[in-house]
């Protein structure tokens, strides 16, 4: 595809009371511009990724807002697909480069969530699902809880196995200075947290976060050595609500997008060294690893419990070295872009304490709602 990542920038994720969407965007973008060595004037378009600005902040028209804020007066617009907004924005940016309309574009994912009460945010997040789900009072954790229970019924997955996902991701996050959480969690702490929607407990759920992440993408027919390229970008769509799904124990959108991504670049799941997957809830990471076909259905939970996928004890693929959504935080519009940044840093050997040795191929997996949208990107270090 000849798409290279010229530079990246990310703010810390967390409860950033003093930060506004504008200040978050400035920080992430100017870091990305500095990292890329690209002149600000050569950016030809801005793809903004955001879900809740309209509902929470009463502000739409973010393309124009950030173009002005950043002093980059170019074509700019927002892409939204609930929690998959980031992945969708990266995909749209790639399309614009493949069309040869542009050579250099900016993707900015930004979300400001902590100005509002958790009940209000909980309501707003239900916008990712269907009207029927909202009228049933089905919160986002509630919907994933239905998936968790179905998985437990079919494969014997236990709450303790789910909890080990959060333990792993908090351990990884403790090694990531930009992560929301810096403290590791014990299995006992996760198991003792109170139920949000049975069987999912508070510590099975990703947090409410503020943050921004930005990348600069370029079309480069002759990429330089050691650049990081995006070699696959695929989206798949499934039904909006759970009621019309074919399966409750797999996200078919993930399956389809992953299959198409691997086929498009001739890579197998076993070639991937490092993956950032969409762990909005612990069960979501189990489903992701299964549905991307990294491992067999029904076997991932046990492997997770035994210490696989971890930086320290994993034997193969490392999952969510950034801390994932659970440990690093989940400012919705920023997550999909942050995932790209983590893989970019891993492939460049810049991750210090959480560096995966000899990482050459990475994958990002970004999901919208309960699996209505799934976006897969595969990144490669160019020799």
């Amino acid at each position: 595809m000849n798409i290279t990542i010229a530079g990246c920038g990310q703010t810390k994720f967390g409860e950033l009371w003093e930060s506004s969407p504008r200040s978050l965007a400035r920080q992430a973008v100017f870091t990305a511009i500095a990292d890329s060595g690209v002149n600000k004037k050569s950016i030809q378009a801005i793809f903004v990724s955001n879900m809740l600005s309209e509902m929470l902040g009463m502000q739409s028209h973010l393309g124009a807002l950030f173009a002005e804020e950043l002093g980059i007066s170019v074509p700019a617009y927002t892409i939204e697909g609930a929690c998959a907004s980031g992945g969708l924005a990266v995909h749209s940016a790639i399309n614009s480069l493949l069309s040869q309309r542009y050579d250099t574009v900016l993707v900015l994912g930004v979300e400001k969530m902590t100005d509002h009460s958790s009940e209000y945010i909980s309501s707003a997040l239900m916008g990712a699902g269907s009207n029927e789900e909202r009228l049933a009072g089905a919160t986002f954790p509630g919907l994933y809880a239905l998936l968790a229970r179905a998985h437990m019924e079919k494969y014997g997955t236990t709450e303790s196995q789910l909890a080990s996902v959060s333990v792993k991701n908090h351990f990884h996050a403790s090694l990531n200075p930009l992560a929301q959480f810096s403290h590791p969690l014990t299995l006992d702490q996760v198991m003792r947290s109170s139920y949000v929607a049975t069987p999912l407990k508070l510590l099975d759920c990703s947090p409410i976060s503020d943050g921004a992440a930005a990348i600069i993408l370029q079309r480069s027919p002759t990429p330089k050595k050691n650049t990081v390229e995006i070699i696959a970008s695929e989206i798949a769509t499934d039904t909006l609500g759970l009621a019309n799904r074919n399966s409750l124990t797999e996200l078919q959108s993930t399956r389809k997008a992953a299959k198409n991504a691997f086929t498009s670049c001739g890579i197998a799941p076993s070639d991937i060294d490092i993956a950032e997957v969409h762990d909005c809830f612990s069960i979501a990471e189990i489903l992701a690893i299964e549905d991307i076909a990294f491992d067999k259905k029904g076997e991932v939970a046990k492997k997770m419990e035994q210490g696989e996928y971890r930086l320290d004890t994993g034997q193969g693929l490392v999952v969510n070295s950034s801390g994932g959504l659970k440990g690093c935080g989940h400012p919705i519009g920023a997550t999909g872009v942050k995932q790209i940044i983590e893989i970019y840093n891993q492939l460049h050997g810049q991750c210090k304490d959480r560096q995966v040795k000899n990482a050459r191929l990475g994958l990002t997996h970004n999901v919208g709602g309960t699996g209505a949208t799934a976006v897969i990107h595969i990144l490669k270090k160019h020799d």
Binding site: E132, L135, T139, R149, A150, E153, T198, N244
Partner: protein, 100 residues
């Protein structure tokens, strides 16, 4: 503020749903509920397979622990759904009761 027109448009399909039976596919008890559902909480929601082969997602009411299981038969009825302000139009919708 829930639009009364949206309430009206949504309610048109409910008359046909009353009395429909189905079975529970998966369920959860929501302990932390969003605005509009706080007074009702905690409450179970379930994915239900209806006898006509389609699925629906709805709240379960008049329940005991023993009813929250896969394959539990349930029947559709009308209840108030979202809590609204005293000067707003009342939102009615479909919820499901266990069938013993």
């Amino acid at each position: 503020m829930i639009s009364p027109i949206k309430v009206w448009r949504n309610q048109k399909k409910y008359a046909q749903q009353i009395g429909k039976v189905g079975t529970i596919i998966s369920w959860t008890i929501i302990n932390i509920s969003p605005e509009g559902f706080i007074d009702q909480s905690p409450y179970p929601i379930a994915l239900i397979k209806l006898s006509d082969g389609t699925n629906t997602l709805a709240q379960i009411v008049d329940w005991e622990e023993k009813h929250l299981r896969k394959n539990q038969p349930v029947i559709a009825t009308i209840r108030r759904t979202q809590e609204v302000a005293p000067d707003e139009v009342i939102a009615y919708g479909i919820k499901f009761k266990p069938l013993d």
